[in-house]
């Protein structure tokens, strides 16, 4: 166990690792945005009470939630181009895989938030003469959004961790760049420990921030309720 740690290699190739970190941030940000759109569409379909909208959305979410994320990456990169007839670069494939799978999970978060608002609220607002879309916008969504926030943040953190799988498609994310640095420097211990530490610090900071925001939101809604 007498190993001399030497992070010189990490420092020397910092530019490569920085590019990787930017690559990770890029796919995470784009996939979260697209995932929210896909999730909102799927949740609306599932809440529509129209059968031919409900069931495709249900099976889409079930399929994505019950298969490993890695197969979505490989499928998007190797199989989807056969269907589409155009080849996809690793970036496009990674975005497709990440945004569809996070969309499936976000859909459940959105749907859960909306159905968690009691029926009485709908009925009460309707009895006051509000139109259905007004009920949704003014009564249901403000309450639902607050309940969606914690699971939404949790899903987004999962997504950030899943971005590491994009390295298997040779997309230059942080992990892929680390593999390149490792193959130049033969310093796997320092390089991979460093990458793990970057993820750890980022995610821990984000989840602490999320807790602060959630605590503040629930306090402010409690005060306005009084």
């Amino acid at each position: 166990m007498n190993y001399d740690w030497d992070f010189g290699a990490v420092w020397e190739y910092r530019q490569m690792l920085l590019d990787g970190a930017l690559g990770t941030m890029k796919i995470a940000a784009v996939a979260i945005l697209l995932g929210v759109v896909i999730g909102a569409v799927l949740a609306t379909m599932r809440l529509s009470r129209v059968r031919w909208l409900e069931y495709p959305a249900l099976w889409f979410t079930e399929f994505y939630r019950n298969t490993p994320p890695l197969i979505h990456f490989f499928w998007a990169f190797y199989a989807l181009p056969v269907v589409l007839g155009v080849s996809l670069d690793p970036y496009a494939a990674a975005i497709i895989a990440l945004s569809t799978q996070s969309g499936a999970f976000y859909a459940e978060v959105f749907r859960g938030g909306v159905i968690s608002v009691e029926r009485g609220q709908w009925e009460g607002a309707r009895a006051l003469g509000m139109k259905p879309h007004n009920v949704l916008r003014r009564v249901v969504l403000p309450q639902a959004l607050q309940r969606m926030l914690p699971p939404f943040m949790e899903r987004s953190f999962e997504l950030i961790k899943t971005t590491a799988l994009a390295s298997t498609l040779a997309y230059s994310d942080l992990l892929y760049q680390a593999m390149q640095v490792n193959s130049i420097t033969f310093r796997p211990l320092e390089v991979y420990t460093f990458v793990a530490a970057i993820f750890f610090v980022t995610l821990l900071t984000l989840s602490m921030l999320a807790h602060v925001v959630e605590a503040r939101l629930s306090r402010s809604s409690y005060q306005s309720a009084r």
Binding site: E62, F74, V82, K161, P188, Y192, F199
Partner: protein
């Protein structure tokens, strides 16, 4: 869309895929009980009153929950041997990563269960002269275990999905075999679709069970 489906490579090579399923199952069957066991001991630390034990336990949980599983597997396969001087086999490295990752989540399930028991139960047990250990074994755990079932089922599902990452360090499980076949036969669409369906068939019963359990316990309380 000029494409004709041809599932022949999938059917002709089903023994290869079956072998992959066997390895996936093996990883899961070893890793899941071990994760629960390790997770239980970690939860004893994080739910204890010893500050050092809490600190160590919490760090363990936070480290493994806040880093990608893939990096954990790669770390055990490529980085850990540098420290020990001994190369781990792919299967062993994969198991290390999977167990440490899942145990961090399992320990949070146990901890959540343990702290959910009202204080009065602890006090009542103490008043009867039970030690902390006896209380845990006879009063607390029997009550919370049923309540934790849905969460553990979900963890088992996540673990089953994570086993696919072992293919990255050349463990010959389902994903690895699927990729090898699709490279050999140039039929990625059929083979990867088949692999996805096999995973779905393996995992969906578990998540169906989890949703049933959740409904049952939601009704009871």
């Amino acid at each position: 869309m000029e494409f004709s489906w041809d599932f022949a490579p999938v059917f002709q090579n089903y023994p290869v895929l079956l072998k992959g399923v066997g390895m996936t199952a093996l990883l899961w069957v070893i890793a899941f009980p071990l994760s629960m066991l390790v997770g239980f001991f970690i939860s004893l630390a994080t739910a204890s009153r010893n500050k050092v034990a809490i600190g160590v336990g919490r760090s363990y949980v936070e480290i493994f929950r806040n880093t990608p599983v893939m990096i954990q597997l790669i770390w055990f396969f490529y980085a850990f041997p540098i420290l020990t001087g001994q190369q781990l086999t792919p299967v062993f490295a994969a198991l290390c990563g999977l167990v440490l990752n899942a145990s961090a989540y399992c320990s949070e399930i146990f901890r959540g269960g343990i702290v959910s028991v009202p204080n009065g139960q602890w006090e009542g047990g103490k008043a009867l002269g039970m030690s902390r250990q006896q209380l845990m074994r006879r009063v607390i755990l029997p009550q919370v275990f049923a309540r934790m079932l849905p969460a553990f089922t979900n963890r088992g599902i996540e673990l089953a999905k994570n086993t696919s990452i072992a293919s990255v360090i050349a463990v010959q499980e389902l994903m690895y075999q699927g990729r090898a076949l699709s490279a050999a036969f140039y039929r990625p669409l059929e083979i990867l679709t088949a692999v996805g369906i096999i995973y779905f068939l393996l995992i969906y019963p578990g998540s169906y069970l989890a949703s049933r359990l959740e409904k049952r316990f939601a009704l009871r309380t």
